[in-house]
């Protein structure tokens, strides 16, 4: 009996010892769905294995969740996946840790995709998509076409939020892509864009508020033309939806990875970000969803098939047709622009 007791105690001690000596744990949070599934398979799990750490994955709905945790002093997340704009604002707000680019190698990143508080993970585009049943393959090719209701009669859908809504309007109004943010920053610039959208308003049947929604709208044939995120359209097209899109005049944007302010394992999180930012991980990620790598070398190491690479937003041929979202403009002007946009929507 005595020896049995001792045996159990020894076993317990061994288990306890093992857990304390066992690998460190890191918590990663992202948006769930097919997006996080791709992240998990291509980035999170392989990187955790390479670093020999244990990984816990969670999901959240947006930066507001993180804000609440940081303000309550109860941060349980280390690495946070985010949109570039939300991350820039969150960084300015002070709820993210500054990244150490001596640890994370971004020397071959596309310009602007590595910000102080968030390192780019994948590149996506806000594109102009159309219903191929209505227009065939020769659909609208520019924002001017999107606004041309005589040449392309039909119902439109447009974004309900202001992010990425003003730039197309200015391009339709004749502003060249490289001048868009200059015009928007000048006095009256926002109003000019709003006025242009007001012009199209009677033809906008739906103001979409999520990627799932604009994909569904095209799948159901509810509208003939829409703005939206390219990866979503590829997914529904595979599912039989009659939809095509162009990268011409599209808005180039990216998702990124940040470290929560007061993260329990900050240093480990930094190493983790360095690992998943390597080109081979980014190349692997594109196999699951048509979002491109931020590291240019991912195209060069031969891990992405050449034909497929041409369909990714950050491929040089596609990138040069697009306008890169200016985060600095959003940090400074988003609240004012959102107010003007809300005003237009409720008119």
């Amino acid at each position: 009996m005595q020896s049995l007791k001792a045996g159990i105690l020894a076993a317990l001690a061994a288990v306890l010892g093992a857990t304390t000596a066992m690998a460190q744990e890191l918590t990663v949070v992202s948006f769930g769905g097919s997006y996080q599934e791709a992240q998990s398979k291509a980035l999170f799990q392989p990187a955790a294995k390479a670093l020999g750490i244990r990984l816990k994955e969670e999901t959240y709905t947006g930066i507001a969740d993180l804000r609440l945790k940081v303000k309550a002093g109860a941060v349980a997340w280390d690495v946070v996946a985010s949109g570039s704009g939300s991350a820039a604002r969150a960084g300015a707000e002070g709820i993210l840790e500054k990244l150490d680019y001596k640890v994370i190698d971004v020397s071959n990143f596309l310009p602007g995709t590595a910000q102080d508080y968030c390192v780019g993970g994948d590149v996506f585009s806000t594109v102009l998509a159309w219903n191929t049943k209505t227009y065939g393959d020769a659909g609208p090719q520019s924002w001017a076409d999107f606004w041309d209701v005589k040449k392309f009669p039909g119902k439109r859908a447009y974004r309900k939020g202001v992010a990425g809504a003003l730039e197309p309007a200015l391009m339709a109004d004749g502003v060249p892509p490289e001048k868009v943010y200059e015009v928007l920053s000048a006095p009256g610039g926002i109003d000019r864009a709003i006025k242009k959208i007001r012009e199209l308003k009677p033809h906008i049947a739906v103001w979409w508020s999520s990627g799932a929604q604009h994909a569904q709208l095209m799948k159901d044939g509810e509208v003939d033309m829409v703005t939206g995120w390219n990866g979503r359209f590829d997914v529904v097209a595979k599912d039989g939806a009659k939809v095509a899109y162009t990268f011409n005049q599209a808005l180039l944007d990216y998702d990124c990875y940040a470290i929560a302010k007061g993260a329990p394992n900050k240093d480990l999180a930094m190493k983790f970000l360095a690992e998943i930012s390597k080109p081979q991980y980014q190349a692997e990620f594109t196999k699951y969803i048509t979002y491109g790598p931020t590291d240019k070398r991912a195209y060069e190491i031969g891990a992405i098939e050449a034909g497929y690479a041409k369909r990714l937003p950050s491929h040089p041929d596609n990138a040069k047709k697009q306008l890169t979202i200016d985060l600095a403009w959003y940090i400074k002007n988003e609240a004012a622009a959102a107010a003007a946009y809300q005003n237009l929507l409720t008119e």
Binding site: A205, V206, D220, E222, T346
Partner: protein
Amino acid sequence: MTLPTGSAATAPAGDCNAAALRRDHAFERLALFGLAVPALVLVIVTMAIPTAWLFWLSFVGDDGSVSLVNYQRMIEQPSYMRTFVATFQIAGLTTAICVLVGYPLAYFLSQLPERVANLCMIAVLLPFWTSLLVRTYAWLVLLQRTGLINTWGIKAGLWSEPLPLVHNQTGTLIGMVHVLLPFLVLPLYGAMRAIDRDLLRAASSLGATPSQAFAKVFLPLSVPGLTAGGMIVFILCLGFYVTPAVLGGGKVTMVSNRIADNIEVFFNWGAASALGVVLLVVTFALLWLAGRLARGVDLFGGGHG
């Protein structure tokens, strides 16, 4: 609660006796109050404290200092006023349609034999057993451009262009009436069942026509149930989020949708809290006004006036 004065009045009242009785009574009250404490604590912790917190947050500006900036924004930007107008308009229209549809339905049910009525009630309650989200998306499938109603209507030659049934106010109202109708029918049906049929017979024996008997006897007696149901529908409408978000196509912005937008756009919770506070205050003001106008009508009472 009244004091048990009977014994004290009949017995030659000694001072100590009365004091003992008072003490007994105080203990009894304390014990009864003790029974209510768990519920009170629950209400305070889950309702009163968060609401007070919400009030406080609405007075905190972006930089964390106490300010009226969140309220100032609502006055300066016309979209906020429009959001409130739209919210009360949708709530009013939904309530009106629910009354127009629900009153005849409840009347019909109340005239049926009880067993048949109970079966019909199940049909009324059926929507309660499915998720709100599922029902809302079901309406989307029915009403959209390529949906069942438009496809059939065009095939049958009833109309040639797809009708704009959803992604607008029409779609929102259809969805909301569907969700909220049971909340009107239930209290109304209860009130109607409780009306004594002999009163109607008495009316006709005194020479009233059936429509006179309905207008002068039945209708007034059913008003408390109608008011209660209407109030529930109206108040639930004010806080609706899912239905306008899904069926409104971004064209119907109600206060709750605006609260969600503000949490995304602004750095603090104050901007969203202020909206909640204004909605709460305006709703209380309206209820108070309705109470004054309908004096004598018990707003939250049952069927017996």
